[in-house]
Each structure stands twice: as C-alpha cells, then as structure tokens.
C-alpha cells in the first residue's frame, strides 16, 4: 500500500521531471505566461488527485500532457488567445547569440505562433517533449502518416517565413 510519504515523493518527482516542459508546452499553445502557469498548476492539481490511477511511470509524461490538453480544451474551447507575453518571457541560452541569430530566433518564434494549431501542436509534442511520431499519433488521435505530414508542413512553413523575412541560408534552401 502506498503511504502518503511515498505518494508525495512520487508526485514531487513528476513535478520536477515535467513541470518545465509542460509549462513550455502550455505557453506555446495558449500564448500567455500567466495562463500557462495556471494551466500547469491545474494539471498537477488534477494529477495529484488522480495519482493512484497512474500505474505505469513510463506513461506519466503522456498522462500529464493529456490532462493539460483536456484542461486547455475545456477552458479555452480550442480558442487560442492572443499571444501577449512573449516579451516578458526569459529565453534560456540567448546570451551568446549574434544579432543575426537573435533575429532568426525571433522570427522563428513569431512563425511558431502563427502556425495553425494542427501544425503547432504536433511540433511542440515532438520538439518540447521529444515524442516520436507514433506517440504524437496516439496523443492527438490521428494517424502517424498525418502526424508526419503536419510536422513536415510545420517546418516548411517556418522555413518559408524565415525566407520571406530575409533570413536565408543553406538550411532553408534545401527545402
């Protein structure tokens, strides 16, 4: 039988392991830091209440994402609010970027926000959480082939935006 201490320990491990990525994911889907924080807290509140239902630790990440996505859908009814807080968000590892690289990063971020949710969400699951195409397929309830198409198109759109805005390079010319 799980004691309260074990339960708490288990919960804290989940929080330590996944809260950052969940916040990033929430931030990029809802576009607002305060709302993203609330979404993540609500996710963990629900996770705490239902922790005993999580039998397989390996499934924890997907379980938490599912909770967060449901919470997001329930709250926002799939309407994405305007991204208002980007300028306030601290970006890690930006100290050593050259001006061109900073411009490119900013354009990429703008591009990500402009992506339709059907492209953005699989991309976030893949890049932020490291999900495989099969895992994304399972998470989103679409075929693996559709996932791959959306991922390919998402990157194509981002590259196209960089090209349109004058940031070009060999990496973009290949596609």
């Amino acid at each position: 039988m799980t004691t309260d201490t074990e339960r708490t320990h288990r919960f804290n491990e989940l929080a330590s392991a996944y809260s950052t990525d969940l916040y990033r994911y929430a931030m990029w889907i809802c576009g607002n830091d305060a709302l993203a924080k609330d979404l993540v807290q609500e996710t963990f509140l629900r996770a705490w209440r239902a922790l005993d239902n999580l039998k397989d630790v390996a499934a924890a990440k997907s379980w938490l994402i599912t909770i967060l996505r449901r919470e997001y859908a329930r709250t926002f009814e799939r309407k994405v609010p305007k991204f208002t807080d980007l300028e306030k968000v601290v970006i890690v590892d930006n100290d050593e970027l050259e001006p061109d690289e900073l411009t490119e990063r900013d354009l990429l971020r703008e591009g990500i926000l402009k992506l339709e949710p059907k492209y953005r969400e699989p991309l976030l699951l893949q890049v932020v959480f490291g999900h495989s195409c099969s895992e994304i397929s399972e998470q989103l309830g679409i075929t693996k082939s559709a996932v791959m198409t959306q991922l390919f198109r998402a990157r194509e759109k981002l590259r196209a935006q960089l090209q349109r805005d004058g940031v070009t390079g060999n990496v973009h010319e290949l596609f």
Binding site: M27, N32, T84
Partner: protein, 238 residues
C-alpha cells in the same frame, strides 16, 4: 528498396532526429543526403532553442505545495479555482478582443462593460483574497492602498486597447462599481461616457488610466477620487 532523395527530405523534414537504420543508411548513402540531414539538424537546434522558455521560478514550489497540505484543502485550491475562472473569462475576453477593434477608448469601455460587466459583478460575490489582488496588480506594475484594496471584491486581467489591464469590482456604499485599469492607455481626463443605463468616468493616472463605471444613479466621481489617490501605477519605472 532504398529511399530516394525526395522521400528522405520529407522524412527528415518531419523527423530530423530520426535514427532508425533505414534513415541512417540513406543518410550515409550520398553527400547530398548527408548535407540535407546535417542542415535539418541545424534547423532543429534553432527551433529547439526558440521554444526553450523558462517557467516562472516559483512554479515548481507552488506545484509541490499541492502535496504538502495534509488535509488536502490546499490554500491555493481556491486560487486555482479562481484562476480557472480567470482563464475562462480571460480567454473569452481575449477571443472577444480578437474579434473587436475599438476606434476609441470610449467605445472600448462601453463594449467591454457590455461584454462582461454584469457577469463580473455577479462573480464578485464570491470574493477574492488580498494576495490575489496584490498579485494581479503587481503583474501590471501597480499596487493599491488599503483605501482601495480593502474595497476590491474581485479583480481579473482583461484586454484593453493597448495590452493587458485589470477589471475590478469594488464595494461602495452605493453598491458595487467597476474599475477598468488600462496601464498603457491615456484618456481625456474627466470625460464621462454614457452607454445603456451606465456611465463611466475616464481618469488619467500617473501611468495609464482608469474607467470608473457605475449605473447612472451612482456617483462615480467619488470613487474616481479614491482610485487616483490609492492606485499606484508604473512602479517598475518609478
């Protein structure tokens, strides 16, 4: 059958970190494949860096607090519930903002109040903690003296013509009244806007402005005086 270049580009375009044997074989089959894979990975590094944002420093500790309350009646559960409502209203508000463009502050105030003014007053009956009031105001670089904060029944973020602001309901001896704080908007100080059965007095503050809204039998001027005196704004730049 081996992968052609077009198939390979599509595959790494969808999954640049793909390391399955077939993809690796294709990658090493010709220089153009190798170059395409390397450059897809380089793009992926940039994409990963662009997505890497830091959570608020207190997020993890607040999450861990969920399990620290022995009776599981966590102090922030009401906050979470309030936050859920704020998200709901905030999201609806943002969606509402996206579908509305205001040609003036006056039309914004009338439109905003018509949108959710009555519902927020209704919701204000549930109350809100001093901590939440301070927290929301702080995020807008503002703070309220007790003369005002002690009367705030409810507060939430809301869209304004120039970014995020706060929608407050305050308790007065004339009944609940509404304040919309617009941190980045200037108004014609002292202008009265009338709409439906309501009127709103627009006042400039040290930074930004506020609309004091009440029904036409309520004296908004007296509340405006309190707001001007008690709502300290633009603290970051102070």
């Amino acid at each position: 059958m081996s992968m052609n270049f077009s198939e390979f580009k599509k595959l790494i375009g969808a999954d640049p970190r793909n390391k399955d044997p077939e993809t690796l074989r294709a990658r090493h089959s010709a220089p153009e494949f190798e170059a395409a894979a390397a450059e897809a990975e380089a793009f992926e590094d940039k994409l990963q860096a662009a997505l890497r944002i830091q959570p608020p420093p207190d997020l993890l500790s607040q999450i861990k607090d969920i399990s620290r309350q022995p009776d599981r009646q966590r102090s922030w559960i009401p906050l979470a519930m309030a936050a859920s409502f704020l998200i709901l209203v905030g999201a609806a508000g943002l969606a509402w903002k996206q579908s509305h463009q205001w040609d003036s502050v006056e039309s914004y105030v009338a439109d905003h109040y018509s949108h959710d003014g009555t519902a927020v007053i209704e919701r204000a009956k549930d109350g809100i903690s001093d901590q939440d009031i301070s927290k929301i105001l702080a995020r807008l670089d503002a703070t309220a003296d007790k003369a005002l904060s002690g009367t705030i029944m409810f507060i939430k973020f809301c869209p304004t013509p120039d970014g995020r602001g706060a929608h407050m309901v305050v308790s007065t001896d004339q009944g609940p009244m509404t304040i919309i704080y617009m941190p980045n908007t200037q108004v014609n100080d002292g202008e009265m806007v009338k709409f439906d059965q309501m009127h709103a007095l627009l006042v400039n503050l040290e930074h930004g402005s506020a609309a004091i809204i009440g029904n036409q039998s309520q004296n908004v001027e007296s509340l405006a005086f309190v707001v001007k005196d008690s709502l300290k704004t633009g603290l970051v730049g102070a």
